[in-house]
């Protein structure tokens, strides 16, 4: 063997990712202390953005990595929200516990819906998921105890009595309503960070490798021993859980629910797809970039009514045509920088190996 032979090893981290990890830690800490310094209005905006980011990360995992292009994720947002309302109103549980139960309920709902949806491929899968979401909406609109088609509100004082609100209020000298906003915001922050962490860990795991193989070529993946169906099912259930949690959290903050709002395909799926597509599908960075752009556009176009949707649509189409890998895709193609590297690079051995390569799509 060559004298310069070193043991083989696999490297995933890059210099950019190390620097980014530091920066991300700082951002998260700033995010944690932000409620002490910013207005309630801004805090609610941040809450909204964080929940949209979580929904976008979860849809991106589903569509961008598992190839399951669902337009029916509102089924899990709405079902999670309704499950939370049921726990609070009918069972008298704490909203925090209810959110957790809502996530589990959404994952359970995903078992029968997955059973039907997985029989469909491509565009049929997309339409199927939408139909399923409509069916769930119509069923829940029959639930008279939760207000039927017109919806209902959380009992007044629910969020003020929520676990942790009193402690936060006492600690920072806030009124209960404000403290409840802070607790919701922290939950949204924790959920967003945990979701990104989960997706990244998954992609770097053995299952993540299988997922990438199935995405690239399902037939070949099966031939090398990958259980394509199992990987996809796992992702479908995990994203249902995350989406259900997020839906419940959003509606703890809103405190008022109706079937039409909770199962809105525009609010919980179309916006989410827009965020992922303009940011860059199939990357973790993409939804983060997308949600920032979405927030800016929303603020800029807030006064133009329905023109807002029209402009969003046009921007979405333009990006799909001219930068199909999104804004983050454009950036990373030129610089090669990845903040969440998942590429396993082979290092060591007798010869030098070229290190440059295009990023994961």
């Amino acid at each position: 063997m060559d004298a310069s032979h070193t043991p083989w090893r696999v490297e995933t981290r890059t210099n950019a990712s190390r620097a980014f990890a530091m920066a991300a830690a700082i951002v998260v800490v700033l995010g944690l202390v932000a409620p002490l310094f910013i207005s309630r209005g801004l805090l609610r905006d941040l809450f909204f953005i964080l929940t949209m980011l979580t929904l976008a990360q979860s849809w991106n995992l589903l569509a961008g990595y598992a190839g399951l292009v669902s337009v029916g994720q509102q089924a899990f947002v709405g079902f999670g929200a309704y499950a939370m309302f049921a726990c609070v109103i009918l069972l008298g549980l704490d909203p925090l516990v209810s959110i957790l139960i809502a996530g589990i309920a959404a994952a359970l709902l995903a078992i029968p819906t997955g059973f039907f949806a997985f029989r469909l491929q491509g565009a049929y899968f997309a339409i199927g998921t939408w139909v399923i979401a409509e069916v769930v909406r119509l069923l829940l609109a029959q639930w008279k105890a939760l207000g039927g088609g017109t919806g209902t509100s959380l009992p007044s004082g629910t969020t003020r009595d929520m676990f942790g609100v009193k402690a936060v209020g006492d600690l920072f000298g806030m009124r209960a309503a404000q403290a409840a906003d802070v607790v919701c915001y922290w939950l949204a922050l924790a959920l967003a960070v945990a979701t990104i962490g989960f997706v990244y860990r998954l992609l770097r795991s053995r299952q993540g490798l299988a997922l990438a193989a199935v995405r690239d070529n399902q037939e070949a993946a099966r031939s090398v021993g990958v259980d394509a169906r199992r990987v996809k099912t796992y992702v479908y259930l995990a994203t249902a859980f995350i989406t259900g949690l997020t839906g419940a959290l959003i509606y703890v903050q809103k405190a008022r629910i109706s079937p039409d709002a909770a199962f809105s395909v525009i609010d919980w799926t179309a916006y989410v797809i827009f965020i992922v597509v303009i940011g860059g599908i199939g990357t973790i960075e993409g939804p983060i970039v997308g949600v920032i752009v979405f927030l800016l556009l929303q603020n800029m176009l807030a006064d133009y009514g329905s023109w807002y949707l029209l402009v969003l649509g046009l921007i979405g189409i333009a990006i799909m045509l001219f930068a199909p890998r999104g804004l983050w895709g454009l950036f990373t193609e030129r610089t090669g920088i990845q903040f969440f590297p998942v590429r396993r690079a082979l290092r060591g051995g007798p010869t030098r190996i070229a290190t440059k390569g295009a990023p994961h799509g």
Partner: protein, 239 residues
């Protein structure tokens, strides 16, 4: 006991019989070549062995077990490795990652435990200098090598090679034959579909001739190539 045995395996696509009661045995450590004109059902035969296509009738036995109704994934785990005639790489993954998937899932191991084996296969198949490039950036010849490398990474007992030497230059073909011989000498059984007969004859001990989904001869390569029926089929094809 043969490692692989097909018993009267049949498959039709509508009126077209692509496999007509095909039977053959492959002994442990044997290398069998399959020849036949285009459309004879050679690749279909591989898909029947790997489970990508389900047989209408007959049975496939692998290592003493009936795998006729077993899905492709499980057959791979049992030890059937295959290359595709048209290379099917995981395009966005790197060459190394292509092998890593196959090694980790094809032999049920952790990634860290298969790194050395993948690196070894990259060296053996001459792909080491492309290890960290996306498989989608490879040219046809390297894609064919990647097919071989990825199949080897699953640690197969039987390796199915589908026209792996087609389109290669003389030198490239020789290098490939040397690699396949080395694999065979380590004890892997091989079934090899090929039009490049001199490459095939450098490795295989027996030839099977397929035409219109039917086996029309099995035996020593010299014997087979001398038979009248085979000459008729191959009339106009350089032998």
């Amino acid at each position: 006991m043969p490692i692989l045995a097909l018993q009267s395996v049949s498959k039709s696509f509508g009126a077209l019989k692509v496999a007509d009661a095909v039977s053959f045995d492959l002994s442990q450590g044997e290398a069998l070549g399959i020849i036949g004109p285009n459309g004879a059902g050679k690749s279909t035969l591989f898909n029947l062995i790997t489970g990508n296509i389900a047989a209408d009738a007959g049975a496939v036995h692998f290592a003493g077990t009936d795998v006729t109704r077993t899905p492709p994934m499980a057959r791979c785990l049992a030890g059937i490795g295959r290359t595709f005639q048209i290379p099917q790489p995981f395009e966005k993954l790197t060459v190394f990652e292509n092998l890593l998937v196959a090694a980790a899932f094809g032999s049920r191991k952790r990634e860290a435990d298969v790194t050395d084996r993948c690196a070894g296969i990259l060296v053996e198949t001459g792909l080491l200098d492309r290890a960290n490039q996306p498989a989608g950036s490879l040219g046809l010849l390297q894609r064919k090598r990647l097919e071989l490398a990825r199949a080897l990474a699953t640690d197969p007992k039987v390796l199915l090679l589908d026209e792996i030497a087609g389109g290669l230059t003389e030198g490239e073909c020789e290098a490939l034959v040397a690699t396949i011989r080395a694999v065979h000498q380590r004890g892997t059984s091989i079934v090899w579909i090929e039009h490049v007969l001199h490459a095939l004859n450098a490795v295989v001990g027996r030839l099977l001739v397929l035409n219109f989904g039917k086996v029309i001869g099995v035996g020593e390569p010299d014997e087979i190539m001398a038979s009248r029926e085979v000459c008729e089929i191959y009339l106009g094809i350089e032998v």
